[in-house]
């Protein structure tokens, strides 16, 4: 019973996050949802016309594909570790429970 409640809670939390993130995609049809770094650059130069960017990134991904690859890699490695640990904890708690009361 309690386990079912947990499942419902988790599913609704995930659904909530999904709806919130997907909402702008449905509402704003014209946007490409790009990052806003260049806008910051503009704003800074508008505020202080004498300011010059004084350092460049040591290395920049050659194009959007490589950047996507690296971002995906970052997420995938992270998700792999998160799920491995959750799986480990799940298995461990199952084993402990099994030893205490066989059901």
């Amino acid at each position: 019973m309690k386990s079912r409640k947990t499942t419902i809670l988790i599913v609704s939390l995930l659904a909530g996050a999904f709806v919130i993130s997907a909402f702008p995609l449905v509402v704003l049809k014209q946007s490409d949802f790009s990052g806003a770094d260049s806008k910051a650059e503009q704003a800074i130069l508008e505020t202080d016309k004498t300011f010059k960017r004084w350092a460049e990134p040591l290395w920049t991904p050659p194009g959007p594909e490589t950047e996507t690859l690296l971002f995906t890699l970052q997420g995938a490695v992270g998700a792999g570790v998160v799920c491995y640990i959750l799986g480990y904890l799940h298995g461990r708690s199952k084993k402990e429970r099994g030893e205490n009361d066989p059901d």
Binding site: L13, L28, S31, A36, A40, G75, G78, V82, S93
Partner: protein, 244 residues
């Protein structure tokens, strides 16, 4: 200044926070975009926290080596969340930081280090954020964010709100705080010629409220998913952390 005038300026400030058309930065300050003096200032400000973070991780793991696995989870979670560029109602994308979960579980120290690792990774490999701006970005994402998350969480738990709700609100507010601090950092470095820091702050925070509230809500919800699972499968570690 008359009180009525003051009120109007305050009102104008709040309205412009909501109405400005776009956020002017995506999460981190870009490479080379803070004047050198400010870079040094933020590095110096962040340095003691980094030291404190390293020491607190060592202490924690020495005290209870069992917590290593949850620390790994918190770090990996930060990696996942900061790779997710989520679309916002302002027509641009931004990513959450993911440090809130770890802050709620472990307190501030360990997350300073975790946040710093993610920032270095993104600065070196993704040209996102930067090495010169690392100190400032550490301060907003890896120090102020976790401090707010942790403090809100502790207070709400004290007044007997549920674990899940306290965590959600802590993580939500911590995420907002990170954004706001970034805007303040830019405003302090680039005060408006006529209006000073406040006018700049309005400009740099842009539509920060509208952009960041949904994003922060999502981060809060996802983090509560992990906490719910931990509550079920990892009670022992949560009690060690005095979260349960």
């Amino acid at each position: 200044m008359f009180p009525a005038q003051k009120k109007m300026i305050n009102a104008a400030f709040i309205v412009s926070l909501i109405l400005l058309p776009y956020p002017l930065f995506s999460m981190h300050i870009m490479e080379g975009f803070l004047p050198p003096g400010w870079c040094i200032f933020w590095f110096t400000t962040s340095a003691p926290f980094i030291l404190f973070g390293v020491i607190s991780i060592k202490d924690r793991l020495k005290q209870s080596p069992k917590l290593k696995i949850l620390l790994g989870l918190a770090g990996a979670y930060t990696f996942v969340l900061s790779s997710l560029k989520i679309p916002s109602l302002t027509g641009s994308s931004s990513h959450p930081t993911g440090v809130g979960l770890g802050a709620v579980l472990f307190g501030v120290g360990p997350m300073v280090v975790m946040g710093m690792i993610v920032l270095i990774f993104q600065a070196l490999l993704l040209a996102h954020g930067g090495i010169t701006t690392l100190g400032a970005n550490i301060f907003s994402m890896a120090i102020v964010g976790p401090v707010v998350s942790w403090a809100v969480f502790i207070v709400l738990k004290k007044v007997r709100l549920s674990l899940e709700l306290s965590a959600f609100l802590g993580i939500f507010l911590g995420s907002l705080a990170t954004y706001f601090v970034t805007a303040i950092q830019l405003a302090m470095a680039f005060p408006d010629e006529h209006g000073g820091v406040m006018v700049s702050l309005i400009k740099f925070s842009g539509i920060f409220a509208v952009t960041q509230i949904p994003l922060s809500v999502s981060e809060g919800l996802l983090s509560v998913v992990i906490i719910t699972l931990l509550k079920k499968y990892s009670r022992e570690e949560l009690s060690l952390l005095k979260v349960l």
